[in-house]
Point group: C2
Chain length 374, copies 2
């Protein structure tokens, strides 16, 4: 692995869209006892279900600590590759490199800094050094040269790309004092464009209320095809979430892509608010003597937090009083993705950890690299 100090844009590389063809997908096995209740037993089952579904149409590599390697190997189907790698939690979306490609199909990784969604300002845990090392280790593992952008804090969940030069992000996250406080909005935009080969950034305001990531876009608005986005939509006009969704809708309706197109916005109705039970909270270890979850705070649930695999879309189901909403959201999504099968995975046990299916997955684009780890 060569470490590069030029930039993707200068070298003719760009960030493909998630709906473009994948080589495969990376995930991380859940382990952290203050994120995943009761030894992560339910979370592991949910992660295994997601991995198994993705593995039907692309290669899945599951990263896992030495300590849990044998457990992961036992739980996961044989067609999933299990690879030892240290991390601080299980959010592959946010700790992986962004993979950029060029016209010849060469793939490189872009390694950004990771500080647990806000560092000492408002991050979720300390330390985060193992998480921060994942992106360079993955570039090495996949034999891809790496752009070193580790002086710039960026998580994969905070951006969504159309693969044609346009990126969506949120001000609430990227302008948070916990990310890159010394940079202006214009400087941050320039950095995004340079590091990822982007021409146009669409700035949404905020994300899902209660989202510990300062409002990642992947929980509220993502590209589903060129010129089309999914927008999480709170129908209850009395909810503060409604106002956030409406503001984002206006921005999207007035936005143009890098190549001058308007966007079609698909509203995906939000599930009813979901709370953890006392029993679920009781299965979490304390973090610095404090509980990480209480039954009074709603979880940041959203159907938009899905993974677009090669021939299917893996979406979260929440069950319970959302059982009907699950079906409704699936039917809407199935119309939006006519060429892919939309598959729901019961994901309450992922949501409890603070994210959802998109947060625990990271695609690797199709490419023409000769040597590549499966």
């Amino acid at each position: 692995m060569k470490i590069l100090h030029s930039s993707a844009k200068r070298d003719g590389f760009y960030l493909p869209a998630e709906f473009d063809r994948h080589y495969g997908c990376v995930m991380i096995f859940p382990e952290r006892a203050d994120s995943w209740q009761y030894g992560a037993i339910n979370a592991r089952r949910a992660f295994a279900n997601v991995a198994g579904e993705i593995a039907k149409c692309e290669r899945v590599t599951m990263l896992v600590s030495h300590r849990e390697y044998q457990n992961a190997r036992l739980i996961l189907p044989p067609d999933i590759r299990v690879v030892e790698m240290s991390s601080d939690d299980a959010w592959a979306r946010d700790v992986s490199p962004e993979w950029v490609i060029n016209a010849d199909g060469v793939m490189r990784g872009v390694s950004f800094g990771f500080n647990a969604w806000g560092g000492l300002y408002d991050g979720c845990y300390f330390p985060w050094d193992k998480d921060n090392a994942v992106s360079s280790k993955l570039c090495d593992l996949y034999d891809a040269d790496m752009y070193d952008c580790e002086d710039f804090i960026l998580e994969g969940g905070s951006i969504s790309a159309d693969g044609r030069g346009t990126l969506i992000t949120t001000e609430s996250c990227l302008l948070s004092p916990g990310r890159n406080p010394k940079l202006t909005k214009a400087q941050i935009e320039a950095r995004l464009c340079d590091s990822l080969g982007i021409q146009k950034v669409i700035w949404l305001k905020d994300g899902i209320i209660g989202d510990e990531t300062n409002g990642h876009t992947d929980n509220i608005c993502v590209f589903c095809s060129p010129y089309e986005v999914l927008l999480a939509w709170e129908e209850d006009e009395n909810s503060p979430q409604h106002a956030i969704c409406r503001e984002n809708l206006e921005i999207l309706e007035n936005a143009l892509t890098a190549d001058g197109h308007k966007l079609t916005v698909h509203k995906i109705p939000q599930p009813r608010p979901i709370y953890m039970t006392e029993e679920e909270c009781g299965g979490l270890e304390l973090y610095n003597g404090q509980p990480t979850r209480t039954p009074t705070e709603p979880l940041s649930a959203s159907y938009v937090n899905l993974f677009i695999a090669n021939d299917r879309v893996i979406m979260p189901f929440f069950g319970g009083e959302n059982a009907e909403n699950d079906m409704r959201a699936r039917d809407i999504l199935q119309k939006i993705f006519p060429d892919r099968k939309v598959v729901g995975i019961y994901a309450r046990d992922i949501l409890i950890g603070g994210g959802n299916i998109h947060c625990i997955t990271h695609q690797i684009p199709a490419h023409n690299m000769p040597y590549i780890g499966g």
Copy 2:
């Protein structure tokens, strides 16, 4: 990775020779403070030299702990892939799976048990659980299905194969009470044949005096081509090593390969005895309160402990009063390997750890697998 409970032989798989074509090679970055003097600084340089030389003709993957990942990445050339994997020391030869292939070029791993060269009987360290897990993790990493032979203790350095059904090993190691004491010699031979697709085992008696592995064959006798072996040869008739070499020579001269051929034995003169200095010993941490090396014990040096790469042979040089012997051994080996360049690497700092170039490398045979980690 599928875990298989049949056997290589039953499934039509066999162990290729080291002199057959390689896909690549695996090594482990040295770290252990009671094996490698002064923070392994010299050892790391020597390992990097070996890796760099092999990387000129085949893919090299260097395994390293999370703790030392950044160090390894910094020291090693960019064309070497650095992959996190926990281990207890740095002996890739002995902790890797044996890779078997079939006529279609499918590759599988055979994972044996590893107990640090003798377990609690006379092993070199405890615990060895991380080392023992390396072979299954490597099968997973390279997306190869794995034969589970972990109930049978076997190190890669204790066998040498001609790739045509014949295996050389030593009684001193394989019949040691620290390996598989409940099995008879006949049962051990049957297990070797079944697990590695072997038809014929040639049993040498003993290895190099002072070898902590109970006399691995890779330090005294290895195949260099079909029907030809290298035999470490102590010319001093007063040395007890001379008697061991002579006994092995007689066995080899009377042996037939699986296909009924006689062997040509190339005698490779031994270097003069090598001792550690007081200063070198002082750079080693104690193990359980005891020194692991003293300046009075000779190290188990041998020129036979070399690595046969695709277009070169990497052999140890010892320097000092062996400088002339180094040249002499190189010239002999260059005649034996007319199609490969013989390259000497100054390896005193590997020898100090208890092995040499063959012990720290493990080839992966050429194969036709579609997805493979570089």
